[in-house]
């Protein structure tokens, strides 16, 4: 039998904190096993060795914020058979998409003394606004076990098992008492995509939505409940405008609370 061709894995970074690709290195028990199944062909955070494309599996971290990156993502797409975005930046534009609601020139002037030197786009946008994406993995940061699941599903030619239901289901699975019902703590769990394992409610705080909107979330109803708990309009605006602010359902809901 001819030797099995090892699929080539590439990891690409755009505007981000590096945390999602770090998740791969945080798989302390699985990393060497994964490295045995794939050829790590481009992963600059971990290796100097760079193998030319095309790549079988591309993991893309970060959002598009500069004209150069808007070009580069097309090169990545062309060199990749299967492209997976990892995390809130790549999937929804990330926290840096807060600029999308403001004048970016004002932002530049606040941070940089010579604004003319800064070459940046008006908006921070998800990868899917630019190229076709084969699979999106949610989270700020992603869950490393879900990342291993995605890689493993790819290697075995099956669909990744990453449920699209709400964080509420994860609280029930974990046996965590509802912080909203029992303690009146405002929680985004009912509209937030599962994947983290409902960490915040387990630590006695409400979910703050870092995995972004679930499938068909009823954000309007949840806002009503939050108002009932005494949360003000301007606070609701901020709640929906964080790490997944530019994801459509959260963006629309936030606009409902804008003066």
């Amino acid at each position: 039998m001819p030797p099995k061709h090892k699929p080539k894995l590439a990891v690409w970074k755009f505007a981000s904190c590096d945390g999602c690709q770090l998740s791969l290195l945080d798989c302390e028990d699985e990393l060497l096993a994964v490295a045995g199944e794939v050829e790590i062909a481009n992963f600059l955070e971990a290796s100097r060795a760079v193998v030319k494309g095309p790549y079988d599996l591309a993991l893309v971290e970060g959002s598009i914020t500069t004209p150069h990156d808007a070009e580069r993502i097309h090169q990545v797409r062309r060199a990749s058979k299967f492209l997976v975005t990892i995390g809130a930046c790549a999937t929804a534009g990330g926290i840096q998409a807060l600029r999308n609601f403001k004048d970016v020139k004002e932002f530049i002037a606040i941070v940089y003394a010579t604004p003319a030197y800064i070459d940046t786009l008006n908006k921070s946008t998800p990868i899917s606004d630019h190229v076709r994406v084969d699979f999106e993995l949610r989270g700020c940061p992603i869950n490393k076990h879900q990342l291993v699941e995605v890689i493993s599903a790819f290697l075995n030619g099956r669909k990744p098992n990453t449920p699209a239901h709400s964080v509420c289901v994860e609280c029930k699975q974990r046996g965590t008492v509802c912080v909203m019902v029992a303690h009146g703590t405002p929680c985004l769990g009912p509209v937030t995509h599962a994947g983290c394992g409902a960490i915040c409610p387990t630590y006695n705080r409400g979910c703050y939505g870092c995995f972004g909107p679930m499938e068909t979330p009823n954000t309007k109803s949840l806002s009503g409940w939050w108002t009932g708990l005494g949360v003000k309009e301007q606070d609701l605006l901020r709640v929906f405008r964080s790490f997944n602010a530019y994801a459509e359902p959260f963006r629309r809901e936030s606009e409902q609370h804008e003066k």
Binding site: E28, L32, P141, T202, N204, Y208
Partner: protein, 429 residues
């Protein structure tokens, strides 16, 4: 005229995107640029208008490698603004979670990013083929650090349990005790790590550095202390901006922090070690001596040893905190919001991380300033390269480039952190 240009387009095994450009004329380095092309994300701008309570969650997202550092500098700055101080076991828990981050971040750098340079591998995965048990030890040591962060913080990257005033939930004694067994193993592994790091081949490269770090009366510094230097600086954190300035240097594409009248300075494990050796635990001091170090070391290539000593110290300190732990009555103290300014500076794995916030009477942020360690080290990195390259010009091109990369990696630069604050200059020709 003999001319040479050393270019590294994409620096590997650093966090974030950067490159290197060195120009040599007649065996003299005439230009060194540590290029930063990581796109800016404007944190200081969008923090304006956010609520003080959101700051630990938001600033954590500046860096996936050292989110605890951002959370710690942020909460201490806010508590300074509101005139409160977190003491007792809550303070100890903050120290403990920081120990976890140091172990995790330092081990990542020592084993996966830095050691391959010394041993001639492209990465730790290739290194594992010849040094399997060593890489496994590194991974398990890293995991021990992550276990602390995960237990106290909820998850290893962007933890969710840190708040202004304390935590959302504190662990029970028995929950913390579950970490102790693993940390005892980790302490032994860290000791092995110090010995292993000390056995690397080091180039002879001593420099006269200006070190800056926190210094505390009794402890090796994490969250508190005065800012001191190896040349007599001794100031409160609130005086940072009247002593340090960000300077635009013509040959560079980035804003560099310098100490007024004194110039570039060095932050991180080697600065902490040189300024706080007497605050290390006896075990860590002993391991340093065994590794052939005295209380002073000025060879940045040996930072891998000092980083390993700090891993050992962090394991030791974590075990001490766990042994003395009694759960506090409440997970957080009250936060009396008022209009004020606050300052915080803590020791991130890569060095001092300064935060300053101004808030109004509702706790809404009016103004924010953040100075990460890597932007402070940039100028020293470039100076090192200017000194280092002429000594090794005889090396073949590819190897010289690699040595330069190694010299940059001595600092464990985190470009993702630095960039949000650096000035990027695009030369349009």
């Amino acid at each position: 005229m003999k001319s040479k240009i050393i270019k590294v387009d994409y620096l590997a095994r650093v966090e974030g995107e950067g490159g290197l450009y060195i120009k040599v004329r007649d065996n003299r380095v005439v230009d060194v640029k540590l290029k930063i092309f990581e796109p800016p994300r404007f944190f200081e701008a969008f923090l304006r208008g956010r609520n003080f309570a959101e700051v630990p969650d938001i600033t954590a997202r500046i860096c996936g490698i050292c989110p605890i550092a951002y959370q710690m500098s942020a909460v201490h700055a806010m508590e300074d603004a509101f005139g409160i101080k977190v003491n007792g076991q809550l303070r100890a828990l903050r120290r403990l979670i920081y120990c976890g981050e140091w172990i995790e971040s330092h081990t990542l750098h020592v084993y996966m990013l830095h050691a391959p340079d010394f041993l001639g591998y492209q990465d730790a995965i290739q290194m594992a083929k010849d040094h399997g048990s060593v890489v496994q030890r590194g991974l398990q040591l890293k995991k021990a650090g992550n276990a602390i962060v995960t237990l106290l913080g909820g998850r290893e990257i962007h933890p969710i349990n840190v708040r202004v005033g304390g935590f959302y939930k504190v662990p029970s004694r028995s929950e913390l005790a579950t970490l102790a067994e693993r940390l005892k193993w980790a302490r032994d592994a860290a000791l092995e790590t110090v010995r292993w790091a000390a056995s690397m081949p080091f180039p002879d490269f001593e420099q006269d550095y200006l070190f800056v770090a926190l210094r505390h009366p009794d402890e090796y510094p994490f969250n508190e202390g005065r800012l001191v230097s190896s040349r007599g600086l001794d100031i409160a954190v609130g005086e940072y901006e009247s002593n340090f300035v960000e300077e635009h240097v013509e040959h560079s594409h980035a804003l560099h922090s310098v100490l007024k009248q004194q110039g570039p300075y060095f932050v991180g494990p080697m600065a902490r070690y040189n300024l706080n050796f007497d605050r290390l635990s006896p075990l860590a001091q002993e391991a340093a001596r065994e590794a052939g170090l005295t209380s002073a070391c000025c060879n940045p290539f040996k930072s891998i040893i000092m980083r390993s000593i700090e891993i050992l110290y962090a394991c030791d300190e974590a075990l001490r905190i766990i042994a003395q732990y009694e759960p506090p009555e409440r997970p957080a103290i009250d936060v009396p919001v008022r209009a004020a300014s606050g300052y915080g500076c803590t020791e991130a794995p890569r060095g001092i991380l300064y935060h300053r916030y101004r808030v109004d009477e509702q706790g809404t942020i009016l103004d924010a300033k953040i100075v990460p360690p890597t932007s402070q080290n940039q100028r020293v990195i470039e100076q090192d390269l200017a000194q280092f390259v002429p000594k090794f010009l005889a090396l073949p091109e590819a190897e010289l480039g690699w040595r330069c990369e190694q010299a940059v990696r001595n600092y464990d630069p985190c470009i993702s952190c630095a960039t949000h604050f650096l000035k990027l200059e695009i030369d349009r020709g």
